[in-house]
């Protein structure tokens, strides 16, 4: 058998997604606003479904409503809609109980842009 250990350390440039990534790393939800139709996307769409390629960036409140969720050995995840966004996004849930229906974006560990929600109540505490 050939035993080969390969360690890869990527340094990824976010490119056009830089504002979104910067926001996530600070726990701030930054949405992409379509210049033509005003559609607000989080996670951002570079080209809007209306076909417009121009857009700007704007902060959202960071509050999100759980649409549906899944739980198991792979973790606790959900489809959520951020307040002010017109689309939905897959998020990781941390500390959510059965009755928690809303959450707020959390600062992720490390320098990896992760979309993690904490339950709204515990965050307020």
């Amino acid at each position: 058998m050939i035993k080969k250990d390969l360690t890869l350390e990527y340094t990824l440039s976010p490119g056009w997604m830089q504002p979104w990534v910067d926001g996530l790393l600070k726990g701030v939800a930054i949405a992409r606003n379509c210049q033509s139709c005003g559609h607000k996307s989080f996670a951002p769409q570079r080209v809007c479904s209306c076909g417009c390629v121009e857009g700007s960036w704007a902060s959202l409140s960071g509050l999100a409503t759980i649409v549906r969720q899944t739980k198991g050995a792979d973790g606790h995840f959900a489809v959520a809609r951020f307040e002010g966004a017109d689309n939905e996004v897959v998020v990781r849930l941390e500390g959510f109980g059965p009755s928690d229906a809303k959450g707020i974006l959390k600062v992720p560990p490390g320098a990896v842009p992760q979309i993690i929600l904490s339950p709204l109540e515990s965050n307020a505490e």
Partner: protein, 388 residues
Amino acid sequence: MVAILGAAMTKFDRRKDGSSFRDWAFEAFELALDRSQIDRSDIDFLIVASESDFFTLQLNPSSILSSDLGLGNTPSVRVEGGGASGQLAVHAGVNAVLSRQARHIAVVGVDPSASQLSGDTIRSLYGYSFDAWTDGMTGATSTVLYALSAQVFMERHRIDESHLNQITIQNRSNAMANSFAHLGRKHSVSEIVGSPVIASPYRRLHCSPLSDGAAAIILSAEDAVPNRRRSAPRIVGVGAANDNPRLGNREDQGHFGAKTKAMKKACSMADIAPKDIGLAEVYDAFAGAQSQALFALGLSHEIRRETADGRFSPSGELPVNLSGGLLVQGAPVGATGVAQVVNCALFLEGRNASKLQPSTPPSHALADTHGGVCTNSAITILAQPDAA
């Protein structure tokens, strides 16, 4: 029309016998070539399907395999389209024949998705099959994303875990007749519901295994089919379409919309309707994905009742995944879509080694593959030569 002169695959398995993906590709290719009844020197194009260099630790695998397969100066190319890599490679072959770029093409799909890296590493890599910068970085696995999509479909069609269990049991039963299948035993309902929840509603036994293996077909232009292979099945329709890779950006997260579009294209090219399909190998990476596929393909309009009534069982009106599908035959990604075509071709020709080989093969069969959560869909329709 494009003829499938030869079709073969290795057993899908977690190989621990010291063989490599290069051996598996060779084994599948040699058998397909033998069945094609043409010479190695007749092959004028090699198309390799392999999803990831992470699996093989081989960049430019098509050149290596071209050499290993003894194809000399034959041009080669590698096709990648996530889980749909194999089927898209078949499409590339069909397009090359129809555009007269080549007359005899070898399509070889291969991936070592089980034995070369740990299961956790493979599953982590699969997590980057979607949008790596959103879903991937957040840690959402393939099972998580499929589960979130399945929930929408299940609610809409009023199906529950018993439906998932029935599909799992049926496909496992089918695979018992297939000596090339990865998993070799049946499971009871109690074993399925006793297996751990990976991402609700999916339990471990509702998920396809990580497999090693290869599959190969030899395609031929119609005017280059040797007389002794006039009975070879034909590819009469191909169709592909994409959906948004991010589930949250889709208007309908439970519907595999790309399949509907791809099926329409494939049926249009084949000049048939979905009702004409008599046998199907569909992409069941997870139990619920099979039903999502059948509905999106227009092969079922009442998925709950038709599944319960056995319409998709071996004796039903439309046998589905006689091979056992990805759920049980296995899923070495690059090989998966090619193997679906291999199974369909051999079933149509009446020479599939499965004990479920229909005594009277249907006129048309369908192979359906996708990457992501049906982000990119690829469909191939095969036909008996007299129906083509």
